[in-house]
Structures are given as C-alpha cells and as structure tokens.
C-alpha cells in the first residue's frame, strides 16, 4: 500500500513540475508579465509545496503509529490491569496483537498449523483487540493513501494558483533545498554520534563490573572466568580482577600491525616511487590498478592464505633453522596483512608524489641534479607529510583488521613481542566475545563495547593525525 502511494506521489510531483512551469511561461508570454525567477524554479516551487507537507505528515504518522494504536486498542475495558503494566510489557503485548491482527480475519483454512495454535492460545480479549487493530490498520492505510493523493493535489493546485509576477520562487526553492541537503549531512553526523554514544553507554555498563584500572593495566586476559559465574548473582570483584586485562590484546594488536607495516612501508613506498617517477605511462596505467586489486581482495581470502599457506611455510622454514614456530603465528597474520595494505601506502604515496609540481623537478634537473638526487632531496621531502599520512591511514587499517587475525593468528591472549608466537588482537576478541550464548548483561559480552570504544578512539586518533599532516602538506605549494 505504502509503495503504491509513494509511486503515485512521484507521478503527481512530476506532473506538477510541468504544471508550474507551464503556468509561469503562460504568464510570461501570453500575460506579458515579467517573472522574477527562471521558469524552472516555478516548477520546482509547485513540486516542493505539494510534496513536503505530505511527506512530513507521513513521517509523523509513521513515527506515532504505535501511539495511535495504543490509544485505539489498549483500553482498560479489554485489559483491566493495563495501568500496572511496564512500558516493556506494553510493547510486547502490542507486538503480539500486531502479529495476531494479520491472521485474525483470515479464513481458518488458509492458516498454517503454527498460526492456528497462536490463535488458540490468545485470550478472547486479545482477539477482540487484534480485530480492532486490523481495522485500525485498514483505516490507517487508507488515510495514508488519501494523504498522498488528495492532500498534495490540493496543495499543488494552490501553489500553482499563487504563481504571479510578484512571486519570487527562486529564493524559496533554494532555501528549501538548502535545508534538505543540510539535513542529510546532519543525519550522517547524528548516526556517527549515535554509534559512538551506544559504545560509550555499553562500555560504562561494562566498567560497572570491571574496574577501568584493571581493564587498561592488567595483563591477564581470561574472559571465560566471567562465564562460569552466574551474572544474576552478581560478581565477586576479585573474580574479575585478572579476567579482562587489555594489555595483552594491545601488545598483540601492535605486534601484528608492526609486522604488517614492516612489509607494507618499504614495498609500498618503493613501488610508489617507481610508479610516479620511473615507470612509463603505459606501465603505470597497467601496474597501478593491478596493485590496487590487492586492496580489493576480500580479507577472508587473505585469512586462509595466511592460515593455510603462509603459516605452515613459516613453520617449516623456522624449524629447518631450529627456531620454534607455532602453527598460528603473529608473523603469518602480519605478513598477509602487510600485503593487503601495500596499496594503501603505494597508491596514496604515488598520488602525493605525483602531486609535487613538475616545476620543482625541472628546477632540480636544471641545477644538474640526477633523477635519484631529485627524488631524495626535493620530491620526497616535499611529499613527506603526505607520505606519512598514507602510513598512518595504513596503520589504522591494520589495527582495525579482523578476519586475517581470526583465521591466522590465535584466539589465545599472549603477552609477547615474539612474532613467531601466537598472539591475538582487540578486534579478534570483540568477535569471540559476541558469539556464543552468553547473556547480554554479562561482562564477557559487554567487554566487546569497551574494546570497541578503545579501538575506535585509537583509529580516530590516527586518522586525525593523518588528516592534519596531509592538510599541512597541501598548503605548502599554494
């Protein structure tokens, strides 16, 4: 029903555009009236005038549908003890009635056995309420449809009538459009803030069970300790003291990210220099997209590449020279991750190096500098800030990477700086804490939010740093 109504609304507004424009042109040529805006703007004016009130009302109806339903069916006559219900229970019952209302008016033969048993289980009062609700939905649907057709037509008609030599449509249209695009950007910002706040609140919940000092500074990570106790009985603070120590996760994350950067920085930077300064245009046109494909390979593919090919290879090589290498090593995960982020370094650095003005190269060559002197002494210093920016973006990508580590590193926290040992990362532990059948108010689950918040702040900091550096570099040649 609602999609049908929306379709009609689109058609109506399309027609009104022409009606408005036509009327403006008529005034101009047949009425000899000087218009104060371009004819197009009168078309937009009529469309906006007809459309916006209808959409706002539709949105309002949608927002308050629950309230209307409540007013309509949740009367004390059907549910005598309604005043004692909590909001949660009210919502649950309303939900149940909504489900019932879909099937309550259907002939019995069309119902599945499951649906029949739902009907049988419902009380007489509930069935009455469900029928009322079905009626309400019908009325609601039809009023929506009317709203979408009659209302815009009347408004559009009025708006068309109001077109005259005196009406200046352009500023009105531009103002409305400005509000719309402004609103869109605010929505994106609000969603970001919303995600951040939800992390913060759940993290605060977690810190009610676990002392933040213990979380940030203790070195033991054994979240299953929280699992063996029943959350409803409350936790003994001592039980949790060494269960949620963030430090081994941090070191694991940094260890694997460091291995990745040791791979990605030299390879990425050197290929960027080759592509930007040495490669002919043809080679560059072919090679650059191929390198960028590396970033497009799904991380899960890197994951099993690391787990099934790289890790055994490293183990074999290590053992042949007498080094004890575990089957799941930080090295394998870090290497695969490093390959994945090569294009972040190479592509961004290449762009930055290319952006160094040709006039600086000419200036250096004209002074008798060789190509390598020019690169080392003029181009790289000039592009340094941008290159640093690309490194930082790559690091924040490495820190946030999950899948490769889940598959190739380990789930066991291990406080070590030896890349040949297994290690686990923040992201991996977020995954493991959220899967499984633990209640939501258990610290083992809630720790995911505290970890997520920490990770978010870490990468945010890196990104801000990167953006600041890149910005500084941009101003340099202006």
């Amino acid at each position: 029903m609602i999609y049908f109504a929306l379709l009609i609304l689109v058609i109506i507004s399309y027609l009104f555009y022409f009606v408005g424009k036509k009327r403006a042109l008529n005034l101009k040529f047949n009425g000899n009236i000087k218009l104060s805006s371009q004819p197009d703007y009168f078309g937009y004016y009529v469309v906006l005038m007809a459309l916006i009130p209808a959409l706002l009302m539709w949105f309002g109806l949608l927002l308050f549908k629950g309230n209307f339903q409540e007013m309509f069916v949740m009367s004390p006559i059907l549910f005598p003890d309604i005043s004692t219900w909590s909001d949660g229970k009210l919502g649950l019952i309303l939900n149940k009635l909504n489900n019932l209302s879909v099937i309550v008016n259907l002939p019995l033969d069309d119902l599945t056995n499951g649906e029949k048993s739902i009907l049988n289980m419902a009380s007489e009062n509930e069935l009455t309420a469900a029928k009322k609700l079905a009626n309400f939905d019908k009325i609601y649907g039809w009023s929506n449809l009317t709203l979408f057709i009659i209302f815009p037509i009347i408004l559009g008609f009025l708006a068309t009538r109001s077109i005259s030599g005196k009406l200046n449509a352009q500023p009105i249209v531009e103002k409305i459009i400005t509000y719309i695009i402004k609103g869109s950007s605010y929505i994106a910002i609000l969603i970001t803030i919303g995600i951040f706040l939800s992390l913060v609140f759940e993290a605060i919940n977690f810190f009610r069970y676990v002392n933040p000092v213990d979380f940030f500074f203790s070195t033991g990570w054994n979240p299953n300790r929280a699992f063996v106790v029943d959350a409803s009985e409350g936790f003994d603070k001592d039980d949790l003291e060494n269960a949620f120590g963030f430090i081994p996760l941090l070191t694991g994350t940094l260890l694997i990210a460091t291995v990745a950067m040791i791979v990605a920085i030299p390879l990425g930077l050197m290929s960027a220099i080759y592509l930007a300064e040495y490669a002919s245009k043809r080679v560059r046109d072919i090679a650059k997209p191929i390198i960028e494909i590396l970033a497009g390979i799904p991380t899960v593919v890197y994951g099993f590449f690391a787990a099934l090919s790289l890790a055994p290879f490293i183990k074999d090589v290590g053992e042949s020279v007498g080094l004890p290498v575990s089957a799941e090593s930080a090295l394998a995960a870090g290497l695969a991750m490093g390959v994945m982020i090569i294009p972040f370094v190479s592509s961004l650095s290449d762009d930055v190096i290319k952006a160094v003005p040709q006039s600086l190269r000419d200036g250096s060559y004209a002074l008798g500098a060789t190509r390598s002197e020019t690169i080392k002494k003029v181009i790289l210093p000039a592009a340094l800030a941008g290159i640093m920016g690309s490194f930082l973006l790559a690091v924040s990508r490495a820190i946030g990477e999950t899948m490769i580590v889940v598959m190739a590193a380990s789930l066991r926290a291990n406080l070590t700086f030896n890349p040949l040992e297994p290690a686990t990362t923040i992201t991996t532990q977020i995954v493991t804490s959220l899967i499984g059948d633990v209640e939501f108010d258990n610290p083992k689950t809630l720790v995911a939010f505290a970890l997520g918040l920490t990770l978010f702040l870490m990468t945010l900091l890196l990104n801000i740093l990167a953006i600041t550096i890149v910005k500084k570099y941009r101003e340099k040649y202006e």
């Binding site: 000419d362 004209a366 002074l367 008798g368 000039a382």
Partner: protein, 258 residues
C-alpha cells in the same frame, strides 16, 4: 680563427625538433655570442621556449620529443654527445623558469642545493660564502639576510624569482637560460630583474625568452625572431627594432600580428 670560435658560447646548426609527428622547430641555425644578452622573441607557439630548452637538454625527459641538429658548447663540446654528461652540462648552463619555482626548503637550502650536489664547497664556511655571494649577486641578500632559515615559498613572487636566479648562479654556470622570467611578476619586480640581468651579463652569457618586445629592446644586445618554428631573423637588437631586413619581423615589431 681561434678567437672567433671562442667568442661564441653556444653554436647551433640545422636544429629541428619534433613532438611526435608535429614539427616544433624547423632547421634553425643560430650562434650565441659570449657575455651578451640574446632575446628570443616571437608569437606564442613559435618554438622559442622549445629551442631554449634544447640548449640544456631539458627536453630529454619528454618522451615524444625528438631533437636533431648540431649543438656546440664553447665551439667544441657536443651538447648531445657522449663525451658530456647531462648533469655536467647543466652545471655549465643554468636555467631560470617562467614561474618562480623555489623548493619548499629554507632560503639557504635553496641556494646551497646546487653547490652541495656538485661538491663545490668542502667546508660549511665555504658553502656559506657561496650562498652569500650568490644572493648578493642576485640582489637579494640584504632583503633575506636575517631570515635565511625561513621557508623560501614565503617570499614574494619577485623575491622568489631572484632566489631562483641566485640558485642558478650558485653553481657558477657560464650560460644562464631564462624562460620568460618576468611574465609572472609585477612591473616593479620586473624592473629589478631586468636591472639584475644587465649586471649579470658581465660574467655570464644570457639567453632569454620574452613576450615583451620592450623588454627585449631594453635588456638585450642581440635579438632573434622566431615564427612558426623557423628563425626569421637574428641580429643586433638595435637593428632588429629599427630597420629589420624581413617584412615579417617588421610586421611583428610594429604590432601588425602576434
């Protein structure tokens, strides 16, 4: 005879330049006398800048560019020959570009860049001397002596261009090529550069591309007029601007085309 050979800083013969299939310079033969300022004039796209960039092989990096003909430095060294490295050549033939292009480094580092690369100074104090002398000769020292460590891109356009000139003379070239060095500058900065060029010709041979005919007549002893890739006329500036041999030159000088 020897005297005559040595009086030319650069001799060129039958020079042709192609960009892909397009001909940019067509059979140009011209000699540049030592310690003179020679202006290359002509309408846009006539090939004067292309020709200038052939002289220190700046066209080498352009893949589609093909240069033919004979170029002799001081009458003996083949500019495009195997006996001279392009870096050594550019040490002898400096260049100043149309748009000031200081490196985003300090003023000192900009001037010291060339001497450091070519190992012209063995100690820090020698390097300081070279930088000071070059800035002095470019008429910039007094203006920047208190802020040698400031970034060069913070200077005004005219100062930047004089810094580029100082940078070019810091490696002690014999010849300085200038590609419309004043076109991005205001009249006052232009006057300073012209004054500077006049002083520099005592020590250096200067070849300058310019769009301004009044500039050519003010600063140069010799003038060469290019049109459609051909050298139309070359001679003393006073003669070219008063009674040129070719009608085309006369038309351009008097503003009938171009």
């Amino acid at each position: 005879m020897v005297e005559q050979v040595n009086s030319f800083a650069i001799k060129t013969k039958n020079v042709s330049v192609h960009y892909g299939n397009k001909m940019a310079i067509d059979d140009v033969t011209i000699n540049f006398t030592k310690n003179d300022v020679t202006s290359l004039i002509g309408p846009s796209g006539c090939g004067k800048s292309t020709f200038l960039r052939c002289l220190n092989r700046m066209n080498d990096v352009i893949e589609s560019c093909k240069v033919q003909g004979e170029f002799l430095l001081n009458g003996v060294t083949d500019i495009y020959g195997d006996s001279i490295q392009v870096e050594t050549l550019r040490e002898k033939i400096g260049m100043v570009f149309q748009k000031p292009n200081p490196f985003p480094k300090s003023i000192f580092e900009n001037v010291a860049y060339g001497p450091k690369i070519h190992g012209l100074a063995s100690t820090q104090s020698e390097l300081n001397d070279i930088v000071m002398e070059s800035l002095n000769r470019a008429g910039l020292y007094e203006e920047v002596k208190d802020r040698m460590d400031d970034i060069a891109t913070g200077l005004s356009g005219g100062q930047q261009q004089r810094l580029c000139i100082a940078r070019a003379i810091a490696i002690r070239p014999e010849i300085i090529l200038m590609d419309e060095p004043c076109s991005a500058l205001d009249p006052i900065a232009t006057a300073r550069i012209e004054e500077l060029i006049n002083e520099l010709k005592e020590k250096y041979t200067i070849i300058i591309v310019t769009h301004s005919m009044s500039q050519a007549s003010r600063i140069s002893q010799r003038t060469a007029f290019f049109h459609l890739g051909k050298l139309i006329e070359h001679g003393d500036t006073s003669k070219i601007f008063t009674k040129p041999d070719k009608e085309q030159t006369n038309d351009y000088i008097t503003g009938r085309f171009g």
